[in-house]
Symmetry: C2
Subunit: 483 residues, 2 copies
Amino acid sequence: MFSLDRDSPVPLADQIEARLRALIDSAQLPPGAKLMSIRRLAGQLGVSPNTVVTAYDRLVAAGLIDSRGTAGFFVAETATTQADAAELLEAGEEQEPVWLAQQANDQRAGVLLASSGALPAAWLEDAIPATAVQRALAKSNAGLASRCPPQGLPELRGAIAMLMRGQGIAVDAGRLLTTWGGTHAIDLICKTLLQPGDSVLVEDPGYFLMFGRLRQAGLRLVPIKRRPDGIDLNQLEAACVEHRPRMLFIQSVLHNPTGWSSSAANLHRVLMLAHQHGFLIAEDDVQGHFHPGSPTRLAQLSGLDGVIYYSSFCKAMSPALRMGYIAAEPRLLKALLREKIYSILTTGALNEFVLLEALSSGRWRKHLDRLQQRLAAARLASTRQLRQAGLLLEHPAEGGLFLWGALPRGVDVDLLVKDAYRNAILLARGATFSADGTSDPHLRFNVAFSQQPRLAGYLQQRLQAVAGGNATLRRLGTTPAKD
Amino acid sequence: MFSLDRDSPVPLADQIEARLRALIDSAQLPPGAKLMSIRRLAGQLGVSPNTVVTAYDRLVAAGLIDSRGTAGFFVAETATTQADAAELLEAGEEQEPVWLAQQANDQRAGVLLASSGALPAAWLEDAIPATAVQRALAKSNAGLASRCPPQGLPELRGAIAMLMRGQGIAVDAGRLLTTWGGTHAIDLICKTLLQPGDSVLVEDPGYFLMFGRLRQAGLRLVPIKRRPDGIDLNQLEAACVEHRPRMLFIQSVLHNPTGWSSSAANLHRVLMLAHQHGFLIAEDDVQGHFHPGSPTRLAQLSGLDGVIYYSSFCKAMSPALRMGYIAAEPRLLKALLREKIYSILTTGALNEFVLLEALSSGRWRKHLDRLQQRLAAARLASTRQLRQAGLLLEHPAEGGLFLWGALPRGVDVDLLVKDAYRNAILLARGATFSADGTSDPHLRFNVAFSQQPRLAGYLQQRLQAVAGGNATLRRLGTTPAKD
């Protein structure tokens, strides 16, 4: 059931109580479940029965368990821990972006995360040396009592600036601000530089949580088609005239969800239009570390003039650190820093010192090289299998996590996604990545997960069934799970 | 100057380059500074001169240093790292809340942080066992590759719920949400449950960053006087009628900046008014862990009905972890969780596993006991010394960090605060904590720092000068630093 820590100063009865509370809170011991008898639990844990009695008594007093005389102890029905808000979000919201973000982040789910936005944990295990955390704490001024300046540790900003200069972006530590990942960067930009009612250009398809954030901030989203070589310039120019946008959000490198990277010529034209029409650009580079080559970025071409650049180490190094960064000209950076203070005061010294240690250890570059090799192999395997299963992959990405594959005509993507989830496969449909939710025959595939034969097997079987006409996807949509 | 890591796989030239870049970025090597000669640096580091040449060449190529022939190498004037945004905020904003938050968080400053909102780092050193971080990583599912569910780790929420039940608050893990500290909790509440134009009741004085956050969110602040036994009930009732408020922000226990705790009777009346007038309550308990007794909280009286409660471990355990938590009824918690996902996606698995380990280790209660003893002694010493210096301390707090002391009549508090800062003493004046910035003769004192004789000595000297009439504070305001 659980074990006790005999070296701990916490009394054994307290430990038993705590473990049982945790099991009840997490519903591993659900309401109505019978607890082990006092004698049996005492024997199993090697403690005196009185110790277990103490713990059970406290849980009875707290209303978490009931004593039913000789029948024993049971988890109270009223102890029903209020269904986790997490679970509340699940019901009926299968395509809801928030729900999707949550699933992809949740390792309890046990489903094949074919559309996940993240790498499998095992691929990141060598990203940070095992000793890095202790070394980081030793180098910090006061260990876990350290405080972090709101702009970020100067040495860490220096190390990030050096990485960015290696990508061709002229930047120094003074133009950088650390954040809690890329999502926080979007939130800061949104709250600092935009006003409700402002028109904002976004690539379509794009990152669903960003769309949600912008909408909640009262902004008017103007979707511009994303093409394999970059944003659609004709649509962009027309939208500038029609909507007088305040900002463009763009992901030049390894765009999510398509995996495409913008050409240098396309980016040059984007900057010209920004200059001509007076809008700011927020350049999202959270996928950029995955690119195996030397792609061009707006931050590089512009020297950060009118471009707010952000990226993170969540995807390629460590989701547990939640570290991201923004680079911008001082005028804008000052406003962003102010908003960072108001929204979260500062980032964590623990996280920043560990990241600094990881970047200084020299492991980062090797880790990235290895990741890119692994991703290339996975992309090859996934592409082959998905094509065999019947998916259309017209412009496979040159790197990164994603493939953007279209279902053949006649397949109801919504029903397929629901059916897949009943078969423990998480797929994200095109509409989720659409700025206005319009239907789209694409699915986003994460190459690290999509090479698993179970996915191709499932898709092939379903698509053949549709093609064969003897089982419509409408029927699939209502049948129970297959296996 | 710096040392090299010979066990690192990073080439020595790269290490030298990185260290120099960091020194230049952080302006420890300011523009125009002369670098050590190649020969001398090589000798000092024990490397070949060619290695230093490689590093210097790269820095020249990057435009960070200039070679001036036989005169040597100098930090380029154009390498002027843009003044840190941090520094930009300093100029002319001495009383600016954001600037104050930044100073108090910034350990480079080297000033006596007499008004700081935080404990000295040394007081927190024993809060988390040295082995906790490695143990936490070992217990996590995937070390630094672990992901955190957006609501927070279920086991951690279970441990926090148990702590809260120990404070008399009926709560379980399902009603909890982890945050990046108390400031993040305020931000989430603000964005989730309030609309621009809403009237919000706040205690006056109160937490300046909260005032700033609420104002930036377009809310109308209605200040209600805070008294030693709680919020002023007459003013509160009148404001309910006049302003039809949507929410009240209140800090029942060890209120910042006064240190006062509300009486149970006062809190009961507050809840009655909330019920009668239909407003929500956000109860800030970020100082609560410091209370030596069993104070009453709104969350306890209300069973969280209509009360959103938040607290954090930043102040009493570890500022480096940045962990806080919100408790609320499921209907509200769901909305807060959604906003957490939109604003930062999730909190850090590293931070949550370390906090869980710290709470499970049994050290927490002992650490708090020790802290409270230390704070009690510091409060005694600070109270005595400040009174001797001439400060009026009418209602010293029964615990926690703060003393709320008034200057004698006739002293210009603004000038004194400026003069103190020139003398390397950070004081925060009453107006900073006022919801509408009105002048106030009080200063907030942090007892952990205010027992330092330098503070009392400085204050006594200045107040005597004013009383003696031979040096007005107006003159003090324009004289250069004294010592």
